[in-house]
Symmetry: C2
Subunit: 237 residues, 2 copies
């Protein structure tokens, strides 16, 4: 009985070999032996909403695998405003960049809601990168996709007006997080967060959301946002 309980606990702390989350990232390319090795030296932890995983300018010293929850990657601009560069979700890895270039983090990672993450030390990942070509290729593919996304964001920032960018964000959130049981978006962000993703003033984000409400595109209840007319949002320009 003791052993059964212990196994359950260990399983709750999850062995990498059995973790399904890795299907969404480069870790799926690792063989059983490597997974067991990594499993032995990884640390799991839960991160509360608002907690910081790492700050801009700090060393990360490994990668985080997001088992659950959402995290924002942001950077302070010269004028002191936070710009959110990316939302990181279940299955994503963060910290690969600093790992590979051996530099301090360029971004700050803050939990948007309760998260479950695993931390894998740098040395273990580098070990696998140096031996496992298919792991490296997978990592390369992930970064290539991130880069494509980043390029598209640059174009949008440069060419689309704020209203359209905000509509795009709502559509993205809907596609990525879906709805909760009451048809509200599956992730809750403050208006300030919306502004920081779109790259505008908080008041402007609030104003445009109010306008969307008047136009029947969305409804809100506090921070909860419900999308009423997805097609209408797509037509915004």
């Amino acid at each position: 009985m003791f052993y059964v309980t212990l196994n359950l606990i260990v399983s709750a702390m999850s062995k990498c070999q059995q973790c399904i989350v890795k299907q969404f990232n480069a870790l799926k390319a690792l063989g059983k032996e490597d997974l067991i090795r990594i499993s032995g030296c990884k640390t799991s932890k839960s991160v509360k909403k608002g907690e910081i995983l790492f700050r801009e300018g700090e060393s990360v010293n490994g990668i985080y695998c997001i088992k659950d929850g959402v995290c924002k990657l942001s950077k302070l601009s010269a004028n002191g405003k936070e710009q959110i560069v990316k939302l990181v979700v279940r299955g994503d890895l963060i910290g690969q960049r600093s790992l590979v270039t051996d530099e301090k983090s360029n971004l700050t990672a803050i939990a948007v809601n309760e998260m479950q993450v695993c931390f894998i030390p740098k040395s273990e990942v580098l070990h696998d990168l140096s031996r496992n070509a298919s792991f490296s290729l997978d990592m390369l593919q992930d970064m290539a996709k991130e880069l494509r996304l980043a390029d598209n964001i640059i174009v949008d920032m440069a060419q689309k007006p704020v209203k359209q960018r905000l509509a795009d964000v709502l559509i993205y959130l809907y596609n990525t997080f879906g709805n909760d049981d009451k048809d509200y978006l599956g992730v809750i962000l403050s208006r300030e967060d919306y502004a920081s993703i779109v790259g505008t003033a908080t008041e402007s984000a609030i104003r445009i959301l109010s306008q969307f409400k008047k136009e029947g595109l969305i409804s809100t209840r506090g921070k909860h946002i419900k999308i009423l007319d997805l097609e209408g949002l797509k037509r915004i320009e």
Copy 2:
């Protein structure tokens, strides 16, 4: 005598083993044998100003190594305007992303001035990626750096005003291309190109450059721009 001449010609077409440009990119991680193999199947070509290497939506089917010249990577936005995402210079590789993800190009590559490039077929590069971990790691590092740069551009686009972004571009061009023998910037771009990098209307770019002239920060002669007060440009905000 015949052999000497032949050697010179072959050398002008440059063997990868002897090419110094690769020092600036991931190809430096390849061993002599791989370089000889690649040298045998690469094609060199010169590209005239304004010519297109590849278009958004096309397959690239390999990577280009830039031996000389400058190239702009751009993307058309929904409103039909060109946004320049990156300037590619001597030593850079392009096409790695599409190669790794096996997707069509997200960007269009157009020569800004006369270029010398080598094209290496996809299969050869994939061969090396699958066998040479240090090559893969180098490629990963390059992409990680590109990604960091892209994130910084997103933040700047979102938070810095047009005037500051244009000043930043001038500073970047000065740092990257230096001056010609008459102290003009070492790369010549149209006002429209400046606008497409900054992400603004051509008239706005022209207006701000005129303002910089009046303030004694730069002088211009047609497309040629001379930086008179670098520190002044850095102070713009």
